[in-house]
């Protein structure tokens, strides 16, 4: 097992790496630009789509999404009637077409938009799937974004250290596993910090839209509703699964990066982790559509894929809470084994110079086979 000695100094590596990530000029600029883009995205989109203000600050041309869709559907209905469809046929079509909990007739009655979105009474069985799907899609996208950020931070950090020719000095001061894990944990915390800044951006954007532009719909509001809908337990499940998944991704990308000898090889080092990340994202979009319980359970247990599937399987598709400990157990076991294997090869990889060592070769090394 991982004894304490192997992790001695981890705290120092963690603090130093995190501090340098936060202090780095390029990162600060990137973070500020990212924040500003999110802040101006909502108001900018609103302005571009015609939601302007008059001199008093009141909205003069506020056409909501539902109003614009109503107009589009009206035009569509007229075209279908002209084409010879009966009223009954149109009514049947409208049941599938009108999302967000209402049919054509309900639209025409002029129910306030906020009620249309949030009133549980108006949510039909057919529309519930769409809502689930969007929630699933949203959380998977979030996971994917965090994965990409985390992978790129870890790879950059490891390759930067290796190309700085510091490895020899570090290797006489600290065990390789502590060095790798310290880096991984620091980049993980930094990734979550990035995510929080992003959330803050959404809220600021929302405030601007609400109070300065008198617009009611904003991205931040959407997230607020989503967070409010999710229970604290749900958030906890999401967070722990996310951390376990990111740890697996970070270990994979850290090892892959350690096999590189130059900055130019960074993109190659990221490719496997990115591929798995996209695979997880696409799996999450389609796996629930197959209506196969076994498939969902298998995907919930698979390392790298699990983080995209399991929280939604439990929180959205009601697969039962028993899946959580099972999935977490598998993920913890996987991370522990991956960390042990990493400890075996990280030192050899980090002192390696020359042609990049690919993941298949790294795995061979980890299992004690000689690599040419």
């Amino acid at each position: 097992m991982l004894n304490r000695l192997k992790l001695k100094g981890l705290g120092h590596v963690f603090r130093f790496t995190l501090l340098q990530l936060l202090k780095k000029k390029g990162n600060i600029i990137g973070l500020v630009v990212f924040f500003l883009i999110i802040v101006v995205m909502g108001p900018g989109m609103a302005l571009l789509t015609g939601n302007m203000m008059n001199g008093d600050g009141a909205s003069v041309e506020h056409q909501s999404y539902l109003e614009r869709r109503e107009e589009a559907l009206q035009r569509r209905q007229e075209r279908l009637l002209e084409a010879g469809l009966s009223e009954e046929q149109l009514a049947l079509l409208s049941q599938d077409l009108y999302a967000v909990g209402s049919n054509w007739e309900e639209y025409k009655t002029g129910v306030p938009e906020a009620e249309k979105i949030t009133s549980p009474d108006e949510v039909t069985d057919d529309d519930f799937d769409t809502d689930d799907f969007s929630q699933n899609l949203g959380s998977s996208m979030l996971m994917m974004m965090l994965c990409i950020l985390s992978v790129s931070f870890v790879v950059r950090s490891v390759v930067e250290e290796k190309t700085s020719k510091l490895v020899d000095l570090l290797m006489v001061s600290i065990e390789p596993l502590a060095l790798l894990m310290g880096k991984i944990l620091a980049t993980l915390v930094y990734t979550l910090f990035y995510f929080l800044v992003q959330l803050l951006g959404f809220f600021v954007s929302d405030l601007i839209m609400k109070h300065l532009m008198n617009l009611e719909e904003g991205l931040g509001e959407f997230i607020t509703i989503r967070l409010a809908d999710t229970s604290p337990l749900g958030i906890l499940i999401f967070l722990i699964t996310c951390i376990l998944g990111l740890l697996a991704f970070a270990l994979l990308s850290g090892l892959s990066a350690a096999g590189c000898s130059s900055i130019e090889e960074t993109s190659s080092a990221m490719s496997t982790a990115m591929l798995l990340c996209f695979a997880g994202y696409y799996f999450s979009m389609f796996v629930f559509a197959f209506n196969s319980k076994a498939l969902v359970i298998v995907c919930s247990l698979l390392p790298f894929i699990s983080m995209f599937i399991m929280p939604n399987a439990v929180l959205v598709y009601d697969f039962g809470y028993w899946l959580i400990p099972l999935s977490w157990g598998v993920q913890i076991l996987f991370v522990a084994v991956a960390a042990l294997l990493s400890a075996k090869v990280y030192q050899a990889l980090i002192v390696h110079k020359g042609k990049r060592i690919g993941l298949p070769q790294i795995l061979r090394m980890a299992f004690g086979k000689e690599v040419a």
Binding site: L5, Q20, S164, K165, V172, S173
Partner: protein, 337 residues
């Protein structure tokens, strides 16, 4: 305390890169690992310090296997580096704390070494910032704040330093933990004479403190100045090993530095010695031993030639090295030990 390296062996594929290297350091001093490029010096050091897996052999410190816990090692690697975009002080404190040095102790050591190696202006830029003239009414505030009227300076990054200054910072990192065993791989390469002397002085101080030093270098004069024992490696094998003085003695006094008032070439050649270089009646002569040297001196005196310098010496380490690892690297006449 003692360091014992026994039967170190390493191969990559079928190629043996270190073949049965053994040596012992029973008491403080400097041990030199010499060899041509690719002879296996750095690989041996890496194996000794546990950075590279060994295919055979053991390294012990005070009878226990040498690890991060059993020995406080200071290492200046051949391939030097610093985080180019990070502050220098942050890096030094980080490296010291990794070695278990408390932060406040590390700060004191950094300060003392910075002064010794003349790099204070890069580590404490605020102390060396140009003074700014206080504005009207600012005097009281200036007195109040400890920073005085110095301009606030940003911490220096490694990439802003010259190669020589970076090397001095890297040398500092090797000494921050006040190590018992110091391993210096090419400590003086790439330094100008002024900085070379600075580092040499610090090395001398460490030797005086009773530290164990292992040095690998191509600068034979430096090695000769410091080391007591040597191992010369050639293509992974040990070709010469032992106490430097004893090795030199075994070669005998074969180098004659001769300076006369007039031309002495015919007499030197008549004695059977070979002249290696000549400049205005000053000669570097290779003799077979002390006897031949005395014969030349006798002939010069008998001929009434006034001798200004007659210095009969053992061969230098440089000459021994070249004779052992092959003349193909440098064209110096080989010795017969």
């Amino acid at each position: 305390m003692s360091l014992e390296v026994s039967h170190l062996f390493k191969k990559y594929g079928n190629k043996v890169v270190v073949d049965d290297l053994s040596f012992t350091m029973e008491e403080p001093g400097v041990y030199a690992l010499l060899g041509t490029n690719g002879a296996g010096k750095t690989t041996s050091i890496r194996m000794m310090l546990g950075m590279l897996a060994r295919d055979g052999g053991e390294v012990s410190w005070n009878g226990s296997p040498l690890t991060l816990d059993t020995c406080n090692v200071g290492y200046l690697a051949e391939e030097r580096g610093l985080y180019p975009k990070y502050g220098l002080m942050d890096q030094l404190i980080y490296f010291a704390t990794l070695r278990g040095v408390p932060k406040h102790v590390a700060k004191d050591r950094i300060q003392s070494l910075a002064k010794r190696l003349e790099v204070e202006e890069y580590l404490y830029p605020e102390k060396f910032a140009p003074a700014t003239r206080p504005m009207l009414g600012q005097k009281k505030a200036v007195r109040f704040f400890a920073t005085g009227n110095r301009k606030k300076e940003k911490p220096r990054l490694a990439e802003q330093l010259s190669k020589g200054n970076q090397q001095k910072i890297q040398f500092m990192t090797a000494l921050l933990s006040d190590p018992e065993l110091i391993v210096l791989d090419e400590p003086l390469s790439g330094l100008d004479p002024v900085n070379t002397d600075l580092i040499r002085d610090v090395i001398r101080e460490e030797i005086a403190k009773g530290k164990y030093l292992i040095m690998s270098s191509h600068q034979m004069a430096t090695v000769e100045e410091f080391c007591t024992d040597i191992t010369i490696l050639d293509r992974s094998k040990t070709v010469l090993q032992g106490n430097l003085n004893a090795i030199k003695k075994s070669y005998g006094r074969v180098n004659l530095h001769l300076k006369c008032e007039v031309d002495a070439r015919p007499l030197v050649e008549a004695a059977g010695a070979s002249i290696l270089s000549e400049k205005e009646n000053e000669y570097q002569v290779r003799v077979s031993g002390e006897e031949q040297g005395q014969k030349i001196l006798g002939a010069l005196t008998a001929a009434g030639i006034s001798v200004i310098t007659f210095d009969l010496q053992e061969p230098s380490l440089h000459e021994i090295f070249v004779s052992k690892v092959g003349e193909e690297h440098e064209h110096v006449e080989p010795f017969e030990a």
